[in-house]
Amino acid sequence: MTTVFWLRLHFYDKKRKLCNLGVCFGVQCAMTTNKETNLIQKIRDGNTHAFSELVDAYKNLVYTLTYRMLGSREEAEEVSQDTFIKIFKSLPHFKGDSKLSTWIYKVAYNTCLDRIKQNKRNKTFVDIDHVKDVAFVSMNNALDKMLQEERKELIKRCLNLLPSNDVGLLTLFYFEEQNLAEMEKTLDIPVSTIKVQLFRARKKFAKVLEENLEKEIFQNYG
């Protein structure tokens, strides 16, 4: 169990060029690692430097989630900072019955939702009731023909066009390595509901991507 998790994290680390997630190594799955426990204990004992290690380890993940959900860099930075302050204050109450990362994502996700509620706005509405056939093959071909940088830029733009809840859900799904049980803890929603919401989020993403891909092709070759 331990080895599998290590390998998965390592793979994820390399692929996404993550910051040092060394705190997650040597884990007992779904619980806090020994290293994490030591780090938490140091922070609880008043070692603020230890907290900066935790911030460095998770800042990119938290910032990515908040940026995708809020769609603004300034706001995302502010909310990410609030998230870490909340984490610091609540750390003494963290029982360690979930992964530290899951708990951090939960705080970040809820802080984003609070901000969205406070601003009384959601980014967009995507109608998926009429989405029936998405031509995945042709979309795949079109995407493959694009330059890697262009493709990444398009994907980023499309993610930003999704409603906050959907993009948050999709982001968490991949941050949590597609582990629905962990997502259940993060979102406090039953797995069955998460599955339905994920399906809808994927559908919306595919639709937004298709529309923007058409625009892109039209602009470049039209």
């Binding site: 907290f51 460095d56 990119n60 994907i155």
Partner: protein, 137 residues
């Protein structure tokens, strides 16, 4: 959408999401957070926290005023000559002579002694508290 389409959609989004990159906050992100945390910690450490809650202080004040009033009851405020004709000394004599007044009751005397004992017991506890909260920081 049937099961095959769902699977196709899932694979497609998996592939796309695999290409996404992590965003990075500003370079001084960690420093900003740490300075905010240190500031919060400093505020918390110098924040005034009374040793006794307000309600206890109010109760002690009432007891003190009541006791003083009781001991001085022979010289009530109705007496207009209270401060006027040299009876102030008598007032304070009576106040300061309260142990003699109460000496008739042994229980009261024991209560006062017990109170004194408890007060003395508190001294090392209070010293440790102040040592921890001020000197060792």
């Amino acid at each position: 959408m049937d099961k095959t389409d769902e699977r196709e959609l899932e694979d497609f989004v998996d592939k796309i999401m695999d290409e996404t990159i992590l965003e990075s906050p500003s370079s001084n992100f960690t420093d900003t957070i740490m300075s905010q945390i240190v500031e919060t910690e400093m505020k918390a450490s110098i924040e005034y926290k009374p040793l006794m809650p307000k309600s206890v202080l109010v109760f002690l004040c009432i007891v003190l005023v009541g006791l003083t009033g009781y001991l001085a009851s022979d010289y009530s405020l109705d007496n207009e000559t209270w401060f006027g004709n040299g009876q102030v000394d008598l007032f304070f004599e009576r106040i300061l002579a309260w142990p003699q007044i109460l000496s008739s009751s042994k229980i009261t005397m024991y209560a006062v002694l017990f109170f004194g004992l408890l007060f003395l017991i508190q001294i090392p506890w209070l010293k440790r508290y102040f040592d921890n909260s001020w000197m060792l920081r």
